[in-house]
Amino acid sequence: MKSFIALLLIGISLQVSAQGKYFTRNGTITFFSSTPVEDIKAENFGVMAILDAETGQLEFSLLMKSFNFKKALMQEHFNENYVESDIYPKSTFKGEVLNLSDIDFSAPGTYPVQVKGQLTIHGETRDVTTDGEIVVSEKGVALKAEFPVKPADYKIEIPKVVENKIAQEILVTVSTELEPFKR
């Protein structure tokens, strides 16, 4: 993420056009776990995302401690026991839009996309490919996607005493609006 941002800033300092770059610092990502015992939902409204419309490069970064839960104990267990956010404070995604040529960023509309990249959670990195949508409007672009994440893939250990309360596959939803990057 820092390398992408650095390149963005170098481009701006050299007065290379920043056109084609979209950015947000308050994107939304939620995750949802559903079991017969309990449904758990957490929301993060501070997601940072950058999309380079010229290369298709796409990056997300968020802080695990910025996930909001309804119940205090759930938030505490999530941070202290499951994702160990003191040790692994961030989650990142670095990837690209595979079918960039299908998108006309000058024509408002909804474009189905396929995105591939590397997702890092709890210090573990996995390849992820998912379908989604890019919605182009006069304001900017909205990114939408839903994909499953298995806590076990990221070495997130769920204690046996609560394993029936947490799904083996968590649904992650990305719904983020980016605006043209301007200094």
Partner: protein, 138 residues
Amino acid sequence: MKKKIFILAVVVALGMGALAYYQFQKPVSSIADVDPEITYTSDELFAYFRDHEKVASQDLNGKVVQVSGSVVDVLSNSDSSTTVVLSSEHPIFGVKCRFEPGSLEDTKPKSGQDIRIKGICTGMTADVEMNQCIYLKK
């Protein structure tokens, strides 16, 4: 005597059950009545994380921090909460403060305004992030 002990045991068990239920169901509490553990300007806080991110994270993440600074941006989030960005030496990034929905209705800050807030520090992506923020009136 045995009957009294039995009744007492039932009452204690019910009490403990009620306490456990309350603990499990208790919502995330507001920091309105919590004093900040430390105070920074937004320049200082950003510089601390920029220059010593690991140390700053260990030092401040999860703690109530008071921050003062100049507003550079006010953003509406998808859940009707508000994010206020405070300035730093960096041309783009600074201290990002999220306020719960409705908590800024009468006092929404404007760009260029100097404000004081307290909130829970959650770390740094490119901005330093503060959550559950409360606006401190002068």
